[in-house]
């Protein structure tokens, strides 16, 4: 009690956070300006969409979900992937990963902000969003999987924002966080991470109207691809942190992440192969969507180059990460991570959503590519996500570094 009075309170905490976020090198300022420009382009795009309605997109009654929902699906995976750091560091007490677990959690928060934004910009009547809020609105729970998704995503956002906020705030005050206050939530968040991605998969998997989605492998495959792409993105963020700040990240950590990524990527490829086998060994009427995706139907083959690119770079990325040539110099690892991320983004984004809707239940086949407005808004949402990640990560790392220097790196687990 006596100690606490000496500690800094909430107001200096917020003040310091703001100062740290806004001050930095010229490079950092330029980076912030770019993010602001991205967000402004999104605002401009959304302004047009708000005026014209969703007619400003290239979606239609056949492809009724497009680029927004594609990106949403991919990013739910990125958010869920934080568990691949939380699980080893809290449950198996992995000291190395414990050092970066906060970065994973912050990336998850950013990804969730992007997810929610993508769903929001996809709504036909965004001002009526309050119809979803239980109490004043009507949430169709438990019947609608979308209602489930809203609940689990918001819950996960709360967990991933509040746990690190508590820990960082304690460290800011120079004290150990009290285990019983946050540990239970850590364990909840581990199960919850799996839940957000399974529920998102069930959103599609639960629709017998769409044979391409109505596939029991979808949930597990979502997890496998998420646990590859998510840690890959976290890995890239760590490289940036390592290069741009004095919060140094050990090579051991990159290696551990690499092993996680490779294991998940291999399982993902195996499941992809299993799906392709089912669709093409004895093609039925239900394989039409896969035909459309991989080879095109009736001249509509806009997705064909994308999916083959995705599969190739997915394979190449996985192989490079698995065999890690030039062991000491990791020059190939960053490009490999990028390849893997882009591959999974295509395959789990547009390569999953659009073929689910084409051919339509009435057999109609069309092509879809996002409109300029959709691209602008997407850029804006990505800018927003990166902004959120930056704004949370920068002060958190400064605080963590100070705490570390103050107390020395102790092996006492907390």
């Amino acid at each position: 009690m006596k100690k606490e009075t000496a500690k800094k309170g909430l107001i200096p905490f917020i003040k310091d956070t703001l100062v740290w976020n806004l001050s930095g090198s010229i490079g950092y300022q330029i980076y912030l300006c770019i993010l602001v420009c991205l967000m402004l382009s999104g605002v401009y795009g959304y302004f047009i969409q708000f005026k014209l309605g969703l007619a400003a997109t290239h979606m239609s009654n056949i492809v009724s979900w497009g680029f927004y929902i594609s990106n949403f699906t991919f990013l739910v995976g990125v958010a869920a992937a934080a568990v691949m750091l939380i699980l080893p560091s809290y449950v198996f007490n992995d000291k190395d990963l414990h050092k970066v677990v906060i970065i994973g959690e912050v990336v998850a928060v950013g990804a969730l902000v992007m997810c929610m934004s993508f769903v929001f910009v996809d709504l036909g009547r965004p001002l009526q969003f309050w119809h979803l809020i239980p109490g004043i609105g009507q949430l169709n729970f438990p019947s609608s999987l979308l209602a489930w998704d809203i609940l689990v995503l918001n819950g996960y956002l709360a967990l991933n924002a509040l746990i690190p906020a508590y820990i960082v705030y304690c460290h800011y005050q120079g004290r150990e966080p009290v285990g019983k206050y946050y540990k239970p939530f850590v364990f909840i968040s581990i199960g919850w991470a799996v839940a957000i991605h399974m529920v998102t998969a069930f959103l599609y998997q639960g629709l017998p109207a769409r044979p391409f989605w109505n596939n029991p492998l979808m949930g597990p495959r979502f997890l496998a691809s998420a646990f590859a792409a998510g840690p890959a993105i976290i890995s890239l963020v760590l490289h940036v942190v390592n290069a741009a700040t004095d919060y140094k990240i050990d090579n051991k950590i990159f290696n551990k992440l690499r092993i996680i990524i490779v294991s998940a990527a291999v399982i993902n490829l195996l499941m992809l192969f299993s799906e392709i086998f089912k669709e093409f060994y004895f093609p039925t009427h239900h394989s039409q969507s896969a035909m459309y995706l991989f080879f095109g139907l009736e001249g509509h083959n806009s997705l064909v180059p994308w999916i083959w690119t995705a599969i190739s770079i997915n394979l190449v990325g996985t192989l490079i990460l698995a065999f890690n040539p030039f062991r000491e110099r990791q020059i190939l690892l960053i490009p490999a991570l990028v390849l893997l991320i882009v591959g999974i983004w295509i395959e789990k984004g547009i390569g999953l959503i659009v073929p689910g809707l084409v051919p339509s239940p009435m057999g109609e086949i069309i092509s879809y590519s996002p409109s300029t407005v959709e691209l602008l808004i997407t850029l804006g949402v990505v800018g927003l996500g990166m902004f959120v990640i930056t704004m949370l990560l920068k002060p958190a790392l400064i605080i963590e570094k100070r705490y570390e220097d103050l107390h020395g790196i102790h092996d006492k687990d907390h």
Partner: protein, 310 residues
């Protein structure tokens, strides 16, 4: 301890305040964007403001329903100088609507499509149609193999025609999917949408195996003189942008004991509509005496729409 409690309460009240502020702001934006005529704009604004806060249709009392109907009718008068009559007639007891389509008789004239567009005030700009007619070659049995875009003299040799629309499933996947309960199955079997409650997420559209739903991507446009003014709250009243709509078996007509517009318009008598619970109805005669089948029975959605061959 005490101060802790106070803090949480404060936070809660703050959040409450913030939410309601956001909602009021939202209402102001929706309402404000539309007032074009300065003379009427403040009155329209007031009406739209009140409309924004109204409840889900199923939770309204009859008095509340009457109020919203009055507002909607006033808005039509102010904005379009149009007198509309919006009805809220509920389902009658012992009625379950069903539909049958005579594959032998239909010759693809598309009179039903035209009548439906007119009757249900469908958007002319995006050419929304609830009914699709597919031209099929002999040997085909499912419309997804047929041609839904034919444009030539009908009937064509060696071909037959199949109409599809919302099949008003008894076990509708769209209703299960909706996150806000904005679409539901009425006791008389019609699947309806509360247009003003729909948020436009389009999950129902993805869930429908029959492509029975249509989304308003743009603001619907209908020449004022072509608007059908006898309307139903859950049926053909004018829609706004960003929400889902669908065939309602012409709820504004069927609940008044009339035939749907498509049945009335069909020149070949290929369309049969009626009460499945009435043993003397034509639809019951068809179901009992003709060889009937339904599309995609394997999905278990129990559509109330049968095809039959003479």
């Amino acid at each position: 301890m005490d101060s802790d409690k106070k803090k949480t309460i404060d936070r809660r009240t703050f959040l409450k305040g913030a939410t309601s502020a956001a909602i009021v702001g939202g209402a102001a934006v929706t309402a404000g964007c539309k007032g074009k005529n300065l003379m009427n704009s403040s009155e329209t604004f007031a009406l739209e403001f009140q409309e924004y806060f109204k409840k889900h249709y199923r939770l309204m009392t009859q008095a509340e329903r009457d109020k919203t109907v009055l507002r909607l009718e006033n808005m039509a008068r102010l904005k379009q100088d149009l007198t509309v009559d919006i009805d809220t007639t509920g389902p009658a007891p012992d009625v379950l609507y069903g539909y049958a389509f005579n594959v032998t008789r239909c010759e693809g004239y598309m009179e039903c499509v035209k009548a439906c567009i007119k009757e249900n005030n469908l958007d002319r700009k995006s050419d929304t149609q609830y009914i699709r007619i597919f031209e099929m070659e002999h040997g085909q049995m499912s419309p997804d193999q047929g041609d839904g875009k034919y444009f030539h003299m009908v009937p064509r040799d060696g071909h037959f025609y199949m109409g599809v629309q919302c099949f008003q499933c008894d076990n509708p996947p769209c209703v299960k999917a909706c996150p806000t309960k904005a679409t539901w199955r009425e006791p008389d079997g019609i699947v309806v949408v509360d247009y003003d409650w729909c948020i436009g997420c389009r999950y129902c559209m993805a869930a429908c195996p029959y492509w029975g739903r249509r989304f308003n991507w743009n603001t619907p446009e209908i020449p004022t003189e072509e608007i059908t003014t006898k309307q139903h709250y859950l049926g053909n009243r004018q829609r706004v942008r960003g929400m889902m709509e669908k065939c309602t078996f012409c709820i504004q007509r069927s609940r008044k004991g009339k035939m749907t517009a498509c049945v009335e318009a069909c020149p070949t008598g290929a369309r049969v509509f009626g009460n499945l619970l009435d043993p003397d109805s034509e639809i019951r005669f068809v179901l009992e005496n003709k060889k009937v089948y339904r599309l995609k029975e394997d999905l278990g959605t129990e559509p109330k729409f049968w095809y039959f061959i003479d």
